[in-house]
């Protein structure tokens, strides 16, 4: 039995003070870490008067009980906060050394509250927290800021000692509070979704560096090594694993384009024939120069691509593009050029913008321009579908909030409200978070997954196309989809609470029973599949409570009119319509399966069953910011 519960390092930027909080050891079994622990902390600290960009909004960076061990694969952290895009619960994930380093400092999570008086960067090391002035960093792009912080950390170490550390940084988009600014991790990785970078920017926190030299807590390290070896040997033989290792996520584009689910020209089609051989696995592999792995991972799905520009254009190397970026900045803009997508990807990495939401808002602007809905200067600035130079210009304008970019910086929902003229029909978002690169009309379960996702339209908590497109479940019906989506949410909830990447789980493949073994080896405390299943139920309902308290209920569990009412013109989903009734039926069934009422409010008996009925009221950050 592990003696200590999760340990959180709190830093108050307003007062410069920091302190440790040791949480109840029972939380390991009830919430694990990651998403689960985040739901628990969000319920304690988020309430309606905690403004997303206000000083009382806490910014949590959380790990899990397997983080820093070599269990496949625990080098992720999750950012939990109140989202400026949705004003609801946000969990946004990234890989990075920060997760491992935090555990080596003896912490399971870092919580940043308050707002610095002047731009700052935060250094966390074994025995101390230092808040440094960031006047020389403010204004740098996110990649430059990362590199500079590493130099500063290395300068403080002994001779010859490599500055192994985890670094997070925001770019100009975060500084300028763009509602879909992300937080970069170890340069090219991002906790991209939901505007966590804007929350960090509002705190005037440019970067965080963490370096620890202590042991990663684990009861039986040798046991974990052996089990991971067994699983890595299995990975080496797995056809799914080999395909993912070779091609990375771009392989997904081959599948979605065939299934008619590749967002094209702002989701007006799900088929983009021009992508073939250019934006798909074939095209990306041609420009791949290296594979990059996360700590502890044998898959190495991340591909580094390189493009030798012509004439005065510099050589460009970028980590990516990932599938989402290929879809949202490629086909969704009607652009079939991989060098363009690489360039746009690199630009977003530098500016600190989420490539998914960026692709969605630029696609929206392009459609508005095509339809003649923009007036005055906006009409002249707005690119049309396929306009590469115009798209790059607009992306930069978003980060610096110039002209039309300033409008789009607020997200597609807010932009559609200003543009009006019925443009909300094709403002592709749920709860204010823009759609990722899967057309939900091509797999109705995906529509439900987007609608009920607590953080807004999201493909990471459940990906029903795995069954609807690849697994033989009929895609164009609502039958059984609530059950399917709940099962997928619950499974991912366990993985994202552990907190491990779900790729090894899916591509080796592993089972939750395998992870129960890892948890026992790490915590010295047996957990059962029953514990996991109750945890998923508890966490999903806990997050629902947080969102309800923040004003997000059934009315927000919805999708744009284009998704619900318009048929797609081509491909397998041509002519299929989900309809509002279809979505409503799936919602009713989903809520019932969760033990929520028709409005999506957890029933009292559900709260009692899950032990959520009296779990401390939210303190709204009052106790924290006062410290």
């Amino acid at each position: 039995m592990a003696a200590a519960g999760p340990r959180i390092l709190w830093v108050n930027l307003s007062t410069g003070r920091s302190w440790e909080e040791g949480l109840d050891p029972a939380l390991w079994r009830l919430y694990l870490g990651g998403r689960g622990l985040g739901s628990y902390l969000a319920r304690r600290h988020l309430r309606p008067d905690v403004a997303p960009l206000g000083e009382r909004n806490p910014l949590f960076f959380l790990t899990g009980p397997l983080t820093g061990t070599v269990a496949p694969v625990g080098s992720k952290f999750v950012v939990v906060t109140r989202s400026p895009a949705t004003e609801g619960f946000l969990d946004s994930y990234a890989s990075g050394a920060l997760a491992v380093e935090l555990r080596q400092c003896g912490y399971d999570g870092l919580a940043v509250v308050g707002r610095a008086a002047a731009p700052s960067w935060l250094e966390v090391a074994d025995g101390g927290v230092k808040l440094h002035a960031a006047s020389e960093l403010w204004g740098l792009d996110a990649l430059e800021a990362d590199a500079r912080v590493r130099e500063l950390v290395a300068g403080g170490l002994g001779p010859g000692e490599p500055a192994g550390c985890g670094v997070l940084a925001i770019g100009p988009a975060g500084e300028n509070l763009v509602s879909f600014a992300g937080i970069n991790s170890d340069q090219g990785r991002q906790a991209g979704r939901g505007g966590a970078g804007a929350v960090m920017g509002a705190k005037r926190l440019k970067a965080i560096a963490v370096r620890g030299t202590g042991p990663v807590p684990a009861e039986d390290p040798r046991g974990i090594l052996e089990l991971a070896r067994e699983h890595n040997l299995k990975l080496a033989e797995s056809p799914l694993g080999k395909a993912r290792s070779r091609f990375g996520t771009p392989l997904t584009l081959d599948i979605t384009n065939r299934a008619g689910m590749l967002p094209t020209r702002n989701f007006s089609s799900g088929v983009f024939p021009e992508a073939q051989g250019e934006l798909d696995s074939v095209g990306v592999e041609r420009r791949t120069v290296a594979s990059r792995s996360c700590f502890g991972c044998g898959v190495a799905c991340s591909k580094v691509t390189r493009f030798a520009g012509s004439g005065m254009e510099p050589l460009l190397a970028v980590e990516g593009p990932e599938y989402e970026t290929l879809g949202m900045l490629g086909s969704n803009l009607g652009i079939a050029s991989l060098p363009f997508v690489m360039r746009a990807n690199h630009l977003c990495d530098r500016l600190g913008l989420d490539t998914i939401s960026t692709g969605a808002v630029v696609g929206f602007a392009m459609e508005c321009a095509e339809r003649g809905l923009l007036g005055g200067e906006w009409a002249q600035e707005a690119p049309r579908f396929g306009d590469e130079a115009g798209a790059l210009r607009l992306i930069e304008d978003i980060a610096f909030r110039r002209g039309l970019g300033g409008l789009l910086a607020r997200g597609v929902r807010a932009a559609a409200q200003v543009v009006g003229q019925g443009s909300d029909r094709f403002a592709m978002h749920s709860k204010g978070l823009e759609f990722p690169a899967y057309e939900p009309r091509a797999a109705f379960g995906a529509a439900l997954a987007y609608a009920v996702s607590p953080r807004g339209a999201c493909h990471r908590r459940a990906w029903p196309p795995a069954r609807e497109v690849l697994g033989g479940v009929p895609p164009f019906t609502v039958e059984g989809k609530a059950q399917l989506v709940k099962e997928m949410y619950d499974e991912n909830c366990v993985l994202h609470s552990l907190l491990v990447c779900d790729f090894p789980f899916k591509f080796i493949p592993l089972t939750l029973q395998d992870y129960a073994r890892y948890v026992e080896l790490a915590l010295g405390q047996a957990v059962t599949l029953e514990d996991f299943s109750r945890l998923a139920d508890r966490v999903e309902t806990c997050i629902r409570l947080v969102n309800l308290a923040l004003g997000l209920g059934r009315e927000q569990d919805t999708l744009p009119a284009r998704t619900l009412e318009e048929p797609l013109p081509e491909g397998p989903p041509a002519g299929k319509i989900l309809g509002r009734e279809g979505l409503d039926r799936m919602l009713d069934e989903y809520y019932a399966l969760r033990g929520w009422d028709r409005e999506g409010r957890p029933r009292p008996e559900t709260l009692q069953r899950l032990g959520l009925e009296d779990e401390g009221g939210p303190d709204g950050g009052d106790q924290i910011v006062g410290r």
Partner: protein, 143 residues
């Protein structure tokens, strides 16, 4: 005779750092990459294979140590370090052309790869997910 040092197949290495984790468990019984005697440089866009002691035929560390704690083993030909006597001055770290000598943060002594001599061969090689490392015996549990 065993291989003279570890060998890495740079084309297979994916920079996952499992070698670091395995090394620290082998030596210190804990997951702690800062105590590993093999390190993957954090270079991001241009991944580079890990650094480890090459047991150089002409080893600068032997000359660099003011206390003379490095020596070449007449039996194995490996460069050996008397870690127990190290005071942590860091001269050897500076001298190593492969950046493959480190200070153990827990003891403040220099440390480097010894191919897990006497512990069944290199742990890093046994646990590497891609089979990118080779050297010495078969590794713990099979050695």
């Amino acid at each position: 005779m065993a291989t003279r040092s570890l060998a890495v197949d740079g084309g297979r290495c994916i920079g996952c750092r499992v070698c670091e984790a395995a090394c620290s468990v082998g030596w210190a019984g804990e997951f702690n990459p800062k105590r590993a005697r093999i390190r993957v440089p954090q270079t991001f866009l241009e991944p580079r294979p890990p650094a480890f002691c090459r047991h150089c035929p002409e080893a600068p560390c032997i000359e660099a140590c003011p206390q003379g704690l490095y020596r070449r083993s007449p039996d194995s030909g490996l460069v050996e370090l008397d870690e127990e006597a190290c005071t942590g001055c860091g001269e050897c770290l500076e001298s190593c052309p492969f950046h493959a000598i480190f200070l153990d943060p827990a003891t403040n002594r220099a440390m480097k790869c010894d191919l897990c001599s006497g512990r069944g061969g290199p742990w890093c090689a046994r646990y590497c997910p891609r089979g990118a490392l080779e050297g010495g015996g078969a590794g713990p549990g099979e050695g």
